[in-house]
Each structure stands twice: as structure tokens, then as C-alpha cells.
């Protein structure tokens, strides 16, 4: 896999801000993921080549962070908060609702590639629990009833 010009330009910008190329690896992973939705083995190799690192060194960092996806994800990623305030305020109902609507569990992608469902630790809006994020959009005070309409806006 070859990194596109846009990707390398963005990575170069990050490299300029740090003393060593390898210090830009997390940025590089984010940039590649922004463009492709996830980071493949080939992408790891491409990043490694560009930053003069070994693929193992890149993957060591990539696999540590849960928001770097090393497996393909759907067109839209649902991050459902499963932390304590959302637990008290009933996130399990949302999980049940999502399972019902999408027929997938945490870690799975709908067969049509539309949604991937993942849990995420506290989203930092506990006063509006339960909450979830789809792509970059935060949804607060979500009820099981609202789920259908929220999901419908995503193709």
C-alpha cells in the first residue's frame, strides 16, 4: 500500500513538530485511519516505511490504543458509553435496543457494512447520561425509543 499525497503531507506536518520521526507515529495512524476508516497490515507497513520504523514498532503502538482500528469497520462507528454514570442511568437498555435494531453485539459490524458497534469508556457528559457517539456526533440523554430515529440518519 502506498500512502497518498494528502496523507504524506499531513504526516510530514506532524513530523516537523517532533524531534524524531517515530514520535509522529500516533498522528500517522490517525491520519491513515481518517482516510481509510481503519488501519490494515499494509497500512502499518507503509507507515513503518515512511517513518523509518519497523512494522512491529508501529503495530506495538497501534494495538495499544483502542481507537485505532486494526480490523475493518463499517461506514459508521457507534461508540456506546458503558461507564458508571451511563450504567446507573440505564445504558444496558440502549445496548439491548441497538442489538435489536442492528442484530449485532459489541465488536461486530452489520453485514451490510453500515454500522460497527463498540463500547467506549466514559464520554465525559455524565450529566446527560446515557450517551453515545456515532462517527463524530455526540448524542446525549438517549432513550431506547430515540435510537431508531438516530440510526436512521446514517446511511
Amino acid at each position: 500500500m502506498i500512502l497518498s499525497d494528502t496523507e504524506t503531507k499531513a504526516i510530514d506536518h506532524e513530523i516537523a513538530l517532533v524531534p524524531y520521526k517515530k514520535a509522529a507515529v500516533i498522528e500517522a495512524l490517525k491520519i491513515v485511519q481518517q482516510h481509510h476508516g481503519w488501519v490494515s497490515d499494509e497500512a502499518v507497513e507503509a507507515i513503518a516505511g515512511y517513518l523509518d520504523m519497523s512494522p512491529a514498532a508501529v503495530d506495538s503502538v497501534a494495538t495499544f490504543y483502542n481507537l485505532i482500528f486494526r480490523k475493518p469497520v463499517g461506514r459508521h462507528v457507534i461508540l456506546l458509553c458503558d461507564s458508571i454514570s451511563c450504567y446507573v442511568m440505564g445504558y444496558t437498555k440502549l445496548y439491548e435496543g441497538l442489538q435489536q435494531h442492528l442484530k449485532i453485539k459489541f465488536g461486530e459490524t452489520t453485514p451490510d457494512g453500515r454500522f460497527t458497534l463498540l463500547p467506549n469508556a466514559c464520554l465525559g457528559c455524565c450529566d446527560h447520561a446515557p450517551a453515545l457517539i456515532i462517527d463524530e456526533e455526540l448524542y446525549k440523554d438517549v432513550t431506547a425509543e430515540r435510537l431508531k430515529e438516530i440510526l436512521a440518519t446514517y446511511k
Binding site: 513538530l17 517532533v18 524531534p19 517515530k22 514520535a23 509522529a24 507515529v25 500516533i26 498522528e27 495512524l29 490517525k30 506495538s60 503502538v61 495499544f64 490504543y65 483502542n66 481507537l67 485505532i68 461508540l79 458503558d82 461507564s83 458508571i84 454514570s85 450504567y87 446507573v88 442511568m89 467506549n120 469508556a121 466514559c122 464520554l123 465525559g124 457528559c125 455524565c126 450529566d127 446527560h128 447520561a129 457517539i133 463524530e136 456526533e137 455526540l138
Partner: protein, 427 residues
């Protein structure tokens, strides 16, 4: 009551842009600091104000800064970092400040950087705060354009660059030294202290990492003085605090209040008390890694010393309320699930102990608990203490567990004797 941190934050209006912020007195502190004060004077003013770190550790901020080597023999490159990785479950106060008034944070950081003579600064922002990322980028650009960042700030000779770095997950990034490793493009495992970041921090250079809320206090301290800051408080710890309440209360939210208001005031006046049909069973006063307090503690002051004296920690000051319909075992299991999954995997007790605790709690919930399990849980609370583990994650995880065993032991025992969760029928 004064609300220096939030007086310009209105949830239904976009945050102040730079000219608007300047109009409210914004960036005056930068001017005062770089033109009329020495770095040491700034440090001293902050130290005298008794500002305690708002990230949870509660260490005197000015004193923390004083360990940074200064003077002509000090390393030329120094770093200042805002820890905006707010991921402690139940904590949502920094979001308010980041989305509400990013320029306030930037101003605080510039003053702090000047105080330690750092010339590179970062805001380490968690991935999930997308809105804040946008606003911060915009605000940093505005600050550069106006000359508050970059070379020769306000003609003082002081230079500062500021960058936004967004994270890619992992609660550990909120730990000061693990954050440094993340910024260096590494796995976010913590570092042993000593050496402290003030001596060997980012890329081995002197570094100060402070919480967002802590930095936001700084401009106001510079503008109005240490005594003023102390006067805002109801206790020894200076200033106001953003307190929050979540759980089954009538008005969950965040409010800027004098440091040291009581738990009762916070819970009943501001959060409107428990929702209809629910009673207070337990409170984690400062986020997931603090010990439970109960109704008997409602009159304690929410400051670092008082909460500690009551057997807990102020932490982030955002309370999580556990109602009497929520099973304490399930509640604590949710917390331990979080901590076990967020363990970085570096040290044995955390990596192996937390999943074990999680499994025990789950089996209790499922009705498969045994008497020995109580002993095993107790053992973990005793042995996963500070110094025994490499960092504070596991000791933090044990705080809600040990206090739950203390105050809600019966609930745990019932799971064993009744071979199931007695709360299931209530839910």
C-alpha cells in the same frame, strides 16, 4: 458568589472568540505576567493562592512548578502540557471549560509557561471531545494571529508555541507520565517517579503537566491576586471549583462553586436531590476512583483535606450518586470492568488482579459467588495499594471496592447466600 471560571460560559451560546474574550478582560493576565512580573513572581503568586491541582491529585500547583529547573543553566527546551484527557468515569468538568471558554485555558497555559520558561506547550485532548478540538484549533489560531502565541509575545522576548494533540483512547493517557509517553508516540505506560517530569519529562526535558481546570484558574489569580483567590473558598484550598453531580438526581450537571461547599449543598441545592422514588445509598465524591461516602457524610466540606479525613478523596470533584435501586455489586463490577480493561498491562498486580476482581464480582451478580470470594476481594483491596503497583490506576480501582465492602457488605453477602442479585427484581 463569584464565578471566575464560568462567568462567560453560556451553554446556549457559542464560546467567546478572542476579541470577545479580550473585552471581558481576557489576556490581561498574559500582559501582566510577561511585561510586569518575573517568572518566579508568577510562581509565587500561584503558590500563595493555595491553588491545588484539579486533576485529582490535589498538589499545590505553584509548588509543583517550583521544581522545574530555572536560570541560565537549565535545559533550553521545556514543555508545558494541559491534561485534557478527561476519562475518569463520572467526570465531565473539563468538557465544560474546553467547550465553554477555550481562550481561558490558553491564557492560563501561556502564563504558566512563562512562569516555568517553557517554550513549547501541548493540549492533550481526548479523542471523544470533537467539538472542543474544533474550538481549540480555532482559538489557538486566533491567539497566534493576535501575537499571544509565537515569537516575542507582546514584545517581552518570551516565545511560546502551542499545539493541540488529540488522543486515540486509553484512560492511562490521563496519567501524567503515561501522557508523556503517548506524546512521544509510544504506548501509554507510566514511568517510575523519581525522576519527576519537572526534571525528566517530555523527551527527557523539564515538563509540567496540569489539569485543564487548574490552568483556567491561573489568569484570575494573576489578575486578582492570591488573597482574592483564597477568599473565594470556604476552606484552606484556594479558589472556586467546578463540581458536578451525575446519577439519579433531579438536576445532574456541573456548577462553579466556592471550594469547600458541603456535599449536602451540592446534592440537594444544586442537583435538586434524589429523583422521585429513589433514595441516596452511596456517593463517589470525586469520580470512579474515590471511596464511597454515605448519607452520614453529607455535611462534610468538599475540599481535599475534609474529604480525605472522611475516608475518601475529593478527586475531580464530580460526584457519582448511587441510588438504592442500583445494586452495589453491579455498580462496583461496572467500575472494575472499566479499570481492568484500561490497565496498561505493565505491572502484575493491576494486570492480573483487576480481571480477577471483575470476574468475582460478575460471578456474584450471576449468583455463583462463594464465601471465599469475600476474602479474595478483601485481599485485593489490601494488596493493590500505592507503592505495591507501578501507578495509581489499581489503587484507584480499589477505592470504590474497599469502601463498598465496608458500607455495603450485606449486599455482597446476600448475593452469595441468595445465589443471585437481590436487586434484579427491583430494576
Amino acid at each position: 458568589m463569584e464565578h471566575p471560571l464560568t462567568k462567560n460560559i453560556h451553554p446556549d451560546r457559542p464560546p467567546l472568540n478572542l476579541p470577545e474574550y479580550e473585552q471581558t478582560g481576557g489576556y490581561a493576565a498574559v500582559r501582566t505576567a510577561v511585561k510586569n512580573m518575573t517568572p518566579q513572581e508568577v510562581q509565587l503568586r500561584v503558590k500563595d493562592s493555595n491553588l491545588k491541582g484539579r486533576g485529582g491529585a490535589g498538589f499545590n500547583t505553584g509548588m509543583k512548578w517550583s521544581f522545574v529547573p530555572m536560570g541560565p543553566d537549565a535545559p533550553k527546551t521545556k514543555y508545558l502540557i494541559a491534561n485534557a484527557d478527561e476519562m475518569e468515569p463520572g467526570t465531565f468538568k473539563d468538557r465544560l471549560l474546553l467547550e465553554g471558554n477555550p481562550h481561558q485555558l490558553i491564557e492560563g497555559m501561556i502564563v504558566a509557561a512563562y512562569a516555568i520558561q517553557a517554550n513549547i506547550s501541548y493540549i492533550f485532548l481526548r479523542w471523544a471531545y470533537k467539538k472542543a478540538a474544533e474550538l481549540i484549533r480555532k482559538s489557538i489560531a486566533e491567539a497566534y494571529a493576535k501575537g499571544y502565541l509565537g515569537k516575542n509575545i507582546l514584545g517581552s522576548g518570551f516565545c511560546l508555541d502551542m499545539y493541540l494533540h488529540t488522543g486515540v483512547g486509553r484512560y492511562m493517557c490521563g496519567e501524567e507520565t503515561a501522557l508523556l509517553n503517548a506524546l512521544e508516540g509510544k504506548r501509554a505506560t507510566p514511568r517510575a517517579k523519581p525522576p519527576f517530569p519537572q526534571i525528566s519529562g517530555l523527551f527527557g526535558k523539564p515538563t509540567i503537566v496540569n489539569n485543564v481546570e487548574t490552568f483556567c484558574c491561573v489568569p484570575h489569580i494573576v489578575n486578582n491576586g492570591a488573597e482574592w483567590f483564597k477568599s473565594l473558598s470556604h476552606s484552606e484550598d484556594g479558589g472556586t471549583k467546578i463540581y458536578g453531580v451525575s446519577g439519579k438526581v433531579n438536576r445532574p450537571g456541573a456548577w462553579e462553586l466556592p471550594m469547600g461547599i458541603t456535599m449536602r449543598e451540592l446534592l440537594e441545592e444544586y442537583a435538586g436531590g434524589m429523583k422521585n422514588g429513589f433514595r441516596l445509598k452511596g456517593i463517589l465524591p470525586g469520580g470512579a476512583s474515590t471511596d464511597f461516602l454515605t448519607a452520614q457524610h453529607l455535611d462534610i466540606k468538599m475540599d481535599f483535606t475534609s474529604v480525605a479525613a472522611a475516608g475518601s478523596r475529593l478527586g475531580t470533584g464530580t460526584m457519582i450518586v448511587m441510588d438504592d435501586a442500583t445494586c452495589p455489586v453491579g455498580f462496583v463490577h461496572n467500575l472494575q470492568h472499566f479499570f481492568a480493561q484500561e490497565s496498561c498491562g505493565w505491572c502484575t498486580p493491576c494486570r492480573e488482579g483487576l480481571p480477577w476482581v471483575e470476574k468475582i464480582l460478575l460471578s456474584l451478580e450471576k449468583g455463583q459467588g462463594r464465601e471465599e470470594d469475600m476474602q479474595l476481594l478483601q485481599m485485593h483491596t489490601q494488596l493493590l495499594g500505592p507503592g505495591n503497583t507501578f501507578c495509581a490506576l489499581a489503587p484507584g480501582a480499589m477505592e470504590p471496592l474497599q469502601s463498598a465492602l465496608k458500607y455495603f457488605r450485606d449486599d455482597f453477602e446476600h448475593h452469595i447466600t441468595e445465589k443471585g442479585c437481590p436487586y434484579n427484581s427491583i430494576r
